[in-house]
Point group: C2
DNA sequence: CGCTCCCAGGAAAGCGCTTGCCTGGCGCGA
DNA sequence: TCGCGCCAGGCAAGCGCTTTCCTGGGAGCG
């Protein structure tokens, strides 16, 4: 690897001059020397060692993002928003997947801290685990104490800046819609029990139903993996309870798609026999059959806001932005069968 | 930010000793000192400055990935494969989105080079642009000259290690299937013209059709954005040609989904009136209605192989692995209408 | 009791870069 | 002609860490 010294030698100047030319320093340099340095850079295919640069001039221009799983459409959308803002502001993004493993999440935070990133964005639900939360908060606090910025998306973990989707409200929207359609036996396909997002959505749903005296007994809630297959499996279990629910609420769209697939396989008509609702309004929701009634979350916008929070110098106390949820009615829901 | 020196001071030892304790160096250190250092680390919440470490002991443990767009399911799957292997081997992954912009791609390669990453993986089609290709190759060559490893997925750009999906073969599979079903008027929803992947798939398709004397005139090929909406738009155009095609081949599944949506909106029955085929076999392909006939590419496997290539010390000449394509018959295709 | 050997721990160099400070040479004015 | 000021360019320190090399002291042996 060519170093600055190599360039300087080849151009017949001092490293200081070479550095100034390369960085476009304000200090003037004679055209001829500049020319020579530039040529040397090109000849040697010199690329500055970012580590050395960052050591000498600690300026943080990289932003780290820790995500549950970018392959998940939910995070794909959020990440798109994060990227957009980061790019606009000339920041490089480092994306890390924790795969919903709190330990790995912690490790990544540590790692990003070591990389001296300008900001850390944590995207994705928090966990019901006090010990973990404490640990995470300590690490984040230590990082912020050194001037790093932290923003979280969709988790209560952290006391600092946050962007929160209205999960509970979304749950309520679903509950009201269900009541409006006359459903009183509701089955829930929930995601992993440990995620706070699940609890929030469930709480909202339960609250809305309770207003009309409809209960949500435990055996009608099935916890499953947050993906298509998990949704299918949980739905199968719900169908086998008796009396079977007339509506199935999946707490994200991937699981809802799984539910739809299973119902089709079993010859159950949607929405005539059973209504199905999702959550998130992922792009696929409009392309499955029947199209999926769901709660829209402004995913890209969440990413945009979070990155803005992370990049803008903090103006005052922790800022929490709550983004609205909105019911999107499509063809997978209908009146409860008589 | 606490530094090693701070830790050493607090523990009453030299930085050298502190460093040895922290890195678990083989050099023995008295238990008491070790103890003191560890406590100081904890008290100070010390995290080593990765840049300084990397400067002092240039060891490359990070792998950089430049991808067209992680939000695209195709790349989401590939990335999953990359991640898996990287994680197994204890490597951190830095994911960068070029958003199909060759210039940004170049910038990211440069940037990763500066970050002294152990390897760079380029995922995604190359471009029909000789100048760009030359530039890219130069940069990659310079990087490899310094001991970096490069692997590419699905592009002919580079002369080094590569994982190639059988794009042309996939095109042929589609062509043969079409002929088998009696289609002779075939419309193609192609992606961006500049991508080599598109050309490859098209070439295979054309070759297969030509074997039975079926032509693919230019006006039956529509270039569009590589996403759902692009697919819908291109399909609309194809429908308006006359005579309209009896089969529509979308060169990726996202566009195929768009095609399906548009056909439904126009009241065209699939597959009775028009057959639709996709490419890639993304997860959604089995969940749309009708389920999508497509060509399966082993996306995750491609990521796995590429990361293996990138991480394993090169054994001999450039290794190119071609992964097979496979036709997946589903409900969106049927015999050509009479 | 004195010597050597060995080992724990510290001093210091150096990784590649930036930048404050200094120097030497030039141009200008008196 | 001499002296001053100014500015381009170089010197060197220092960013935080690792690691080689060295030192001093204790243990073991004669």
């Amino acid at each position: 690897m060519a170093t600055l010294a190599d360039v300087a030698r080849r151009a017949g100047v001092s490293p200081a001059t070479a550095s100034r030319v390369i960085n476009g320093s304000s200090k003037p340099v004679a055209d001829e020397l500049r020319e020579r340095v530039l040529r040397a850079v090109a000849d040697l295919r010199y690329v500055p060692n970012a580590h050395a640069q960052l050591l000498a001039r600690p300026q943080r221009s990289v932003v780290g993002v820790v995500v549950h799983d970018v392959s998940d459409p939910y995070f794909a959308e959020v990440t798109r928003g994060l990227q957009r803002v980061a790019t606009e502001r000339g920041r490089l993004l480092i994306i890390c997947n924790s795969y919903r493993d709190p330990v790995r999440e912690l490790e990544y935070v540590e790692l990003l801290r070591g990389q001296q990133v300008a900001a850390i964005v944590l995207a994705g639900s928090g966990y019901h685990d006090a010990a973990f939360t404490t640990l995470l908060n300590e690490k984040l606090a230590a990082y912020e104490a050194t001037g790093g910025r932290v923003a979280v998306i969709g988790r209560h973990d952290h006391f600092g800046d946050a962007v929160m989707p209205a999960n509970a409200t979304g749950g309520e929207l679903i509950g009201r819609e269900l009541l409006r359609l006359g459903h009183r036996r509701v089955g829930v396909v929930a995601g992993p029990r440990v995620l706070t997002t699940i609890t929030d959505r469930l709480t909202g749903l339960r609250r809305a139903l309770a207003e009309q005296g409809v209960e949500l007994p435990d055996q009608r809630i099935r916890y499953a993996d947050f993906d298509r297959d998990g949704g299918a499996r949980a739905t199968a279990e719900l169908l086998d309870t008796s009396p079977a629910p007339t509506a199935i609420v999946a707490l994200n769209d991937s699981m809802a798609v799984g539910a739809l697939a299973l119902l089709r396989a079993r010859g159950v008509r949607v929405p005539e026999d059973v209504s199905v609702l999702g959550f998130d309004d992922m792009p696929i929701a409009a392309d499955v059959t029947p199209t999926l009634t769901t709660v829209r979350l402004p995913l890209v916008e969440m990413g945009v806001r979070a990155m803005a929070l992370a990049l803008d110098p903090t103006s005052g106390s922790p800022r929490v932005e709550t983004l609205p949820a909105e019911l999107v009615r499509r063809d997978s829901t209908g009146p409860a069968p008589a």
